[in-house]
């Protein structure tokens, strides 16, 4: 049975083979994970469709393979423990012909096993492929001794496996493999930074009113996180400044303005950075978005994100606040998007109000990165000003919502 890389999500055409969970000779049950593959945005495990024994691994870990490529061979288990007859079956099914005479010649043409039937049985009893043994006797005759040393060699190999694993673990302590999601992230940010002239500016936003509003809603049993307010506010800004919701198609000399607003949520996971997407945020209620975000974050935690969950964003936000984070950053664009906004930690700070009084306000810094080829600093400042305005007077945002 061939295990192939199948289409595990929309538009996926290739994947990198990260890791095998099995090795040749392993017994496996249906649904046991066989192999981990990595696409641009996610890792997936391919489960076994049936019980059997792993015959052969066809692809080296680290290789990138197309959908449809055979990854490994599995043979279905037969009723007699762990013999290996089905590969032989495959072999014979492939060569056998119904022509009797032809079969006879084919038998004659295959390599003759120069060993007595008794010796051959010793090999079979120990699951040694006698075809693979070079006989040490005259004329290549295979002796019992040849079989026993092959059995011994196999045992030594098996015993050595744990030691080898230990060595690998030790190695891992001093060097982490740069592969999988880590490498994908690396490639992606490199491409983005090398392609797009980045520019980042910082702004501080007074979120005191927003937090009060949020608190009030909470009292009424409606728990909406600050991030949803930010996203909704961005929805308003992006409609007013559509170039921030665009991509530059340099080849066709076009700035493609996206009609819908899909917000990518940069999410820190155990595997690294993932960007699940909240789709059509303008058309959804606060409560719907809140629910959707909760689901998507749970999926990220459970490593259950699908390809559909991870594609299609037009603008990305990065919420560093909950991480207890920084006061500013220079985020790299989620290429080919034209802009990205990062929210930093909310902190009470002494501020000077209109009456020149020092008041305690809840302040949040934001970092705004944009593609300087299509967006100038002036527009970016206008964009963040508008965003700050909506957040500072959350009631005014209501007027703008569609």
């Amino acid at each position: 049975m061939e295990i192939k890389l199948h289409d595990i999500g929309e538009g996926m055409t290739q994947a990198e083979l990260i890791h095998y969970f099995v090795k040749p000779g392993d017994k496996i049950n249906a649904d046991d994970p066989l192999v981990e593959v990595q696409t641009d945005k996610m890792t997936a495990e391919i489960p076994s469709p049936a019980s059997g024994i792993v015959k052969e691994l066809m692809i080296e870990p680290g290789a990138t393979i197309a959908v449809g490529t055979t990854i490994m061979l599995i043979e279905a288990v037969n009723s007699t423990k762990s013999r290996e007859p089905n590969t032989r079956a495959v072999k014979e099914f492939a060569t056998k012909s119904s022509d009797v005479k032809k079969i006879d010649t084919e038998i004659n043409k295959t390599k003759r096993i120069l060993a007595s039937p008794y010796t051959r049985k010793i090999a079979r009893d120990h699951q040694i492929s006698i075809e693979m043994i070079d006989g040490s006797g005259p004329g290549g005759r295979i002796s019992d001794e040849d079989i026993y040393s092959a059995i011994k060699a196999e045992k030594i190999q098996t015993n050595q496996t744990p030691a080898r694993t230990e060595e690998v673990i030790k190695e891992k302590q001093s060097s982490i493999p740069y592969s999988g999601i880590r490498r994908k992230i690396g490639n992606k940010v490199t491409q983005s930074l090398f392609t797009v002239p980045h520019c980042t500016h910082f702004e501080e936003v007074d979120v005191t009113e927003l937090l009060q509003f949020k608190e009030q809603l909470k009292k009424e049993g409606k728990n909406i996180s600050a991030t949803i307010f930010f996203i909704k506010a961005l929805g308003v800004c992006l409609r007013e400044f559509p170039v921030f919701n665009s991509s530059l198609d340099e080849k066709n000399e076009l700035i493609v303005l996206h009609p819908a607003i899909h917000i990518g949520l940069a999410t820190d996971t155990a595997d690294g950075l993932l960007v699940p997407v909240l789709k059509n945020i303008s058309q959804k209620s606060f409560r719907a978005l809140q629910e959707e975000m909760r689901e998507i974050q749970q999926k990220a935690k459970d490593k259950a994100l699908s390809m559909a969950d991870l594609t299609g964003s037009t603008f990305t936000v990065s919420n560093a606040g909950p991480l207890g984070g920084s006061i500013g950053a220079t985020p790299i664009l989620n290429y080919p998007e034209s802009a990205l906004m990062a929210f930093h930690k909310i902190k009470k700070r002494p501020m000077v109000n209109a009456k020149d009084e020092i008041v305690i306000r809840s302040m949040m810094n934001i970092s705004m990165t944009y593609d300087h080829r299509i967006i100038d600093g002036g527009s970016a400042v206008m964009f963040t000003n508008r965003f700050a305005e909506l957040i500072e007077q959350p009631i005014s945002m209501m007027v703008e919502l569609t």
């Binding site: 279905a76 288990v77 037969n78 009723s79 007699t80 423990k81 013999r83 007859p85 089905n86 032989r88 079956a89 072999k91 014979e92 099914f93 056998k96 012909s97 119904s98 009797v100 005479k101 079969i103 006879d104 010649t105 038998i107 004659n108 043409k109 003759r112 096993i113 120069l114 060993a115 007595s116 039937p117 051959r120 049985k121 079979r124 009893d125 699951q127 005259p138 004329g139 290549g140 005759r141």
Partner: protein, 474 residues
């Protein structure tokens, strides 16, 4: 017929009671499995009822009859040479009945459940058995299919003079002139036996020669010729016209020239098809070959887990020797043993008079596959035993790989050739080399000395070949 009854639980179910099936059943029982044998007729199969046993009985009769001429040299007078086919036929029935009851007894003694009926697979682990008006369903842990082949379609003609190799051994009278079409073991055995039982025999072969080792072909042709068996090579049967008196067989030679052969009877192989369809193998999507033969691996496993197949229903030569071995292999694999079927050194046997056994490579095949092979032949006439018995026909041919002295092929024609096959198979399976055959001591006088002398002849050391006469072909 009530379907949907609760399936009865069975352990090992064997379908077919021919040599492959009953031996599989007994072996599985010996290894502690609970066995159910399903056969729609009597146990014994084609081998017992219409194949091996009847044809070998006829060969025996032919051999005995032809030996009568040589009895006078021993002082034994034979008053009259008469042959009554009806007696032979009744002996055949007795032999069959005797062997059949022997098998039944073995089945019983091995506590094998015997069910009469036709089987049909319903699922990968279930089989239905129809017996008269009852229909039962069994769920099995393992199944061995040993259901063989059936003669395909309806008989071409109702003409009782157009025979196949089953019906010919049911004849009530010896044909005046038997035309044998073909060159397989069935054809050659029929030609030999019926000639010796009094028929005029003409053999029609499509190819230019027989398909055995060249030295065997040559000796066999010489002997057949001496027996007045007419042989036509390179001849295709183009047309068969029969009238009340005779059968006219129109032959076409290689050059396109036609000739006709007049005979009283004609025999040729019936086309046989595997019974896989009747068993519902297609319903299970079991892998089959082009002609419906079930595909198996060397553990006799089909493409479906838990189902095994042995004998004529699988690919390869339709020989009882193969079915017997495969039946045992399947049973052993089911019982958890690491058995294997390897047909490489399947001995090819002809119960002609004299008989032939052939195992391993022919000289031509060896030349093709090995850089340096060496062949030597030893005529049995040069042995002391031949002078004693008066059976002076035949020879032993051995082929080795010069580089390693490993035996590649052993072929024999002559009295005792069939029993010699045991040595041939053993020597080849043991990967024997020349010294392995010359080291041991051979009974004297005996036909087996022919094997020894043939191996010795490889190095010019055959005692009974005149100096320089040791035929060494390099």
């Amino acid at each position: 017929m009530v379907v949907g009854e609760i399936a009865e639980e069975k352990d090992v179910v064997v379908i077919g009671g021919g040599p492959g099936g009953y031996q599989a059943a007994i072996r599985a029982a010996q290894l502690g499995r609970k066995v159910t044998l399903i056969e729609k007729e009597n146990v014994g199969g084609v081998c017992l009822f219409t194949g091996c046993i009847p044809s070998k009985l006829f060969a025996e009769a032919g051999k005995k009859r032809s030996s009568l001429n040589s009895l006078s040299r021993l002082g034994i007078a034979v008053r009259e040479d008469s042959f009554d086919l009806s007696v032979l036929q009744s002996t055949k029935q007795k032999v069959i009945a005797q062997l059949q009851s022997g098998i039944e007894k073995l089945i019983h003694e091995n506590r094998i459940e015997r069910i009469k009926g036709s089987a049909y697979f319903l699922a990968n682990d279930r089989i239905g058995v129809e017996s008269g008006h009852t229909f039962s369903i069994f769920r099995f842990s393992s199944a061995i299919i040993a259901a063989g082949c059936s003669i395909a379609g309806t008989k071409e003609s109702e003409d009782h003079r157009l025979l196949d190799y089953e019906s010919i051994y049911a004849l009530q009278e010896v044909p005046k002139h038997l035309a044998v079409i073909g060159d397989d073991y069935l054809a050659l055995e029929a030609a030999s036996s019926f000639q010796q039982l009094g028929a005029k025999v003409t053999l029609v072969v499509e190819k230019e020669d027989f398909h055995f080792e060249a030295s065997i072909n040559k000796e066999l042709k010489r002997i057949f010729k001496k027996r007045n068996i007419k042989m036509h090579f390179n001849q295709k049967v183009q047309q068969i016209d029969s009238n009340e008196e005779e059968i006219k067989i129109v032959l076409e030679g290689e050059d396109g020239q036609t000739s006709s052969l007049l005979a009283s009877h004609m025999v040729k192989a019936a086309s046989r098809e595997p019974n896989s369809f009747h068993l519902g193998a297609d319903r299970l999507k079991m892998k089959t070959g082009k002609n419906g033969h079930i595909l198996i691996n060397d553990a006799c496993q089909t493409s479906i887990e838990g189902i095994y197949a042995v004998g004529d229903i699988t690919e390869g030569p339709a020989l009882a020797v193969k079915a017997i071995k495969q039946g045992k292999v399947a049973a052993e694999v089911i019982a958890g043993c690491s058995a294997e079927y390897d047909g490489r050194f399947l001995p090819l046997i002809l119960h002609t008079n004299p008989p032939v056994s052939s195992c391993g490579l022919t000289e031509d095949e060896a030349k093709e596959m090995y850089k340096n092979s060496r062949t030597a032949s030893f005529p049995l006439a040069a042995l002391g035993i031949s002078a004693v018995t008066g059976n002076r026909e035949g020879m032993v041919t051995v082929i080795i790989d010069e580089a390693t002295d490993v035996l590649l092929g052993l072929h024999a024609i002559g009295e005792g050739a069939v029993e010699l096959a045991a040595s041939s198979v053993l020597a080849l399976e043991m990967a024997g080399r020349t010294e392995d055959l010359t080291f041991g001591l051979y009974a004297h006088p005996s036909v087996s000395e022919g094997l020894l002398e043939a191996v010795e002849a490889l190095t010019g050391k055959s005692i009974h070949l005149a100096a320089g006469q040791s035929k060494i072909n390099v």
